[in-house]
């Protein structure tokens, strides 16, 4: 039990890592959801070029492991003269990767949307972007909330990979405590406990939104 006392004494290290994980994941989740919605529009667009371009991007991201992309952004971009801190490169990697997944899950929800509501929107004179924004996206978001929640959990798990490019997130903090005090069990168990609590919180949030959506109907 001694190990847990040491981790508790170093809780500021662990918590600042945790705060970084939360910040990275939260920003990545929000930005990739917004960009993912735009990409989903491209996936569902009438123009063939937009569709093909978006599909190639989504498929490429679905074939790459996250760490490989993070490596490419962290080590690759400097040779094009773009220099960023590892925190920023990590965040950009998270966004670039998850935009594809968000777009794909929104597309799936969009494809399942009943045709009638879109036709009714047409009948009421909604067209183009206005139709998408006012009629299509709101129900798509509500239908996709469970998948968005899952993807957010995936983002949090992906963010742990960033420890390999030395971003000071939760796993990195646990590793720092373990290398200083040799308390591997306590520090990694503490880290996993924090990840677990976060995911439980997201799942609770998703269930809550689900109830709200049901009440609205």
């Amino acid at each position: 039990m001694n190990g847990f006392t040491i981790v508790w004494d170093n809780r500021d290290v662990l918590l600042s890592g945790f705060a970084n994980t939360i910040a990275l994941s939260a920003i990545a989740a929000v930005v990739s959801l917004v960009l993912g919605a735009l990409l989903a529009m491209a996936l569902m667009a009438r123009s063939k070029a937009a569709r093909i371009g978006a599909t190639v991007y989504v498929d490429a991201m679905r074939c790459v492991p996250f760490l490989l992309l993070a490596y490419l952004i962290y080590y690759g971009l400097p040779s094009f003269g773009i220099r960023m801190s590892n925190w920023t490169s990590g965040l950009i990697a998270l966004i670039v990767y998850n935009v594809a997944y968000m777009a794909e899950l929104l597309r799936a929800a969009w494809a399942n949307l009943p045709k009638e509501s879109i036709e009714a929107g047409h009948a009421f004179g909604f067209h183009g972007l206005k139709l998408v924004r006012r009629i299509i996206l709101p129900p798509v978001f509500f239908a996709a909330v469970p998948m968005i929640g899952n993807q957010t959990i995936q983002i949090i798990k992906d963010s742990a990979f960033l420890t390999i490019i030395a971003v000071a997130e939760l796993t990195q903090a646990a590793m720092a405590i373990q290398t200083t005090y040799f308390v591997p069990f306590a520090s990694f168990v503490a880290a996993i406990a924090l990840y677990w609590i976060t995911c439980m919180a997201i799942e609770t949030g998703v269930a809550f939104v689900g109830r709200v959506a049901k009440a609205r109907q």
Partner: protein
Amino acid sequence: MTWYDVYAIFQGAVFTVSISLASIVIGLPLGLGFALIRWSSVPVLDRFVVVYVSVIRASPAVTLALLIFFALPVVGISLGAVTAAVVTLTLSTAAFNTEIWRGALMSFPREQLESARAFGMTRGLRFRRIVFPQLVHSALPALVNEMTLQVKSSPAIAVLGLVDITRAASRVGARTYDPLPPFVVALVLYSLIVAVFVMTQRLIERRRAAEMEALR
């Protein structure tokens, strides 16, 4: 980048494939076992499975690998890096497989079980002859999807100092100061691996469809 570098990344691919296959081969039956524990609500054990699935689903593979590699020696179990990697990937894929198998079990038609019981089949026989053959096919798409996710989370073992596709590619990139070509090679290799899984799934599904057609 020389041909030798391509060969080095290819060797990483062999490692990625073998370590992923090992965890899939162990993780599939393990997940089925856990799912059966929950399905038949074995007392106490099924609570353990619930907690296990919930915790593993939430833990990143990197953190899990570190825990298994660095923490198990504290309780007297010392694993080599490769074994620790296989254990990590197996534990994580088994948790996801548990949920997939359980989902398939939950949607299994009750009437079939009842009629099998009416024919006097024992519990084990019912499972072997009636449930399992159909379960495999209904769970297959989700299982294959999980396998491809597994291949993509396998670079996590880089924290244990093992060299898989991603690590090999990043090494070549670091040495040549030109990360794009090794990245493309790695991308192609990962796509090939994922494609093999998906194609095998389609093959099994086509065969199954043909069998069902022949039965009619």
